[in-house]
Amino acid sequence: MINSHDILETINMIDHENLDVRTITMGISLLDCIDDNIDKACGKVYDKICRYAKNLVKTGEDISKEYGIPIIHKRISVTPIAMLAAACPTMSPVKFAKALDKAADTVGVNFVGGYSALVHKGFAPGDYALIESIPEALASTEKVCSSVNIGSTKAGINMDAVAKMGRVIRQAAELTADRDCIGAAKLVVFCNAPEDNPFMAGAFHGAGEPDCVINVGVSGPGVVRAALAKAGSCNITEVADIVKKTAFKITRTGQLVAKEAAQRLSVPFGIVDLSLAPTPAIGDSVAYILEEMGLEQCGAHGTTACLALLNDAVKKGGVMASSHVGGLSGAFIPVTEDAGMIEAARSKALSLTKLEAMTAVCSVGLDMIAIPGDTSAEIISGIIADEAAIGMVNSKTTAVRLIPAIGKQAGEELNFGGLLGNGPIMDINPKSPAKFISRGGRIPAPMQSLKN
């Protein structure tokens, strides 16, 4: 029999500490929808998504009710659309984005990811057209998310793609300037992108994945913070232990939901993503965990060390709780989606340079950061190149999701609403890397790639 203390602890986590399963994401392969007639291809895409995901939202809601655990998002990731666009080179791939958006509406999911291209070593047919079309695709749809992988530890960094993505991010923001530049908030530039990531905006269904799969992303920064607060003034070894134990419990919930969803939908279970994903809700912040460890405010000296400990302990606790672990797995630090990060950025305790250091030890990268509207494409490319270099050398995923706030300056704010949150526009270093970016070519893969 389960003891009553455990029962009340679980209920307290859900009721007061924001414990939830962040997302059930169904990965769907669209390789069998390839057609040289783009309208036919879009029809097949729409039909397949609607057929496979018709019960996804209802199943998620049923599981949520039966187990009493909130499941915040039900989402879909698909094969990188560049692979489908390759078959119809004369047509704009935006039609695919519209088909995805329509399918997302029909099945009731709140995001669909996979308007993506993988160009870490170079551009294949379809890639160039897709990347060019990203700003229009994101401006003319609501639920479509886009990502581009521009580097990897194995391949190095495609600097032509880096240069291009600086321009694409600016255009995505410009085309949605009347909506707080939200286009750029739905676009991620990756190095070492995982093929099974359930989290948006970077989710896509990799070519090595099965036809259909269920991936689950867990969450729970509030639970970790509460556990640390309860422990009081223990030493840092004990802090790591508490995080591990808490992460284990959080992840077991995700594993249960993932297995149950996979079984009910008759779809293979893929992975659980061991993540601490914050939301702008008070108490659901990764920054607050770092502050609970003993920092006056997130961004203070010591932040990178605290985050490294947190990220590592989350993985150690989570890995035993799940039979298959994957995705991004670690602590997320999206600035506009985390109440503590927003406060730290507003008070200038947290700077872009500190965030860059933090990305070397966290699960992803420079995420949801608003930058001045007059930031040049070359500077954005420079930021992407720096971030990709950290990922490439450290054999980890890094990503950049920057929002140039068109018409606004540092100190002003952007407000996306909902989970994308709001936040101040952060200062950047205005010195130009234009000559470096314009060289093009490829940064060779580092020594770390030669493992065979």
Partner: protein
């Protein structure tokens, strides 16, 4: 198949009876009950067997949640596996 019903809130007369009556009506068998009063707050935990439940589980969740609101207490009805998953290796 077992579920756990928890009732949390201000102690009033007849909470146990009302929840038990609701269970009996849909053939949910009460296996064990523990209750305590923590800092003036009432906490009751009920293990129930829902194998013969005559309504879908989600309907039981809804009706008991509504009953809780009526009585001014918070009632959770959760499948026991969530607790097993979280607290047992």
């Amino acid at each position: 198949m077992n579920a756990v019903i928890t009732v949390l809130g201000k102690d009033t007369v007849g909470i146990l009876a009302k929840v038990a009556a609701e269970c009996a009506e849909v053939s949910v068998n009460i296996v064990e009950v523990t209750q305590s009063v923590l800092q003036g707050m009432f906490a009751m935990i009920m293990f129930v067997d829902i194998t013969k439940c005559t309504v879908p589980f989600s309907q039981l969740v809804d009706s008991l949640t509504a009953k809780g609101e009526e009585m001014g207490v918070k009632i959770h009805v959760m499948h026991e596996d969530i607790f097993n998953a979280m607290h047992k290796i």
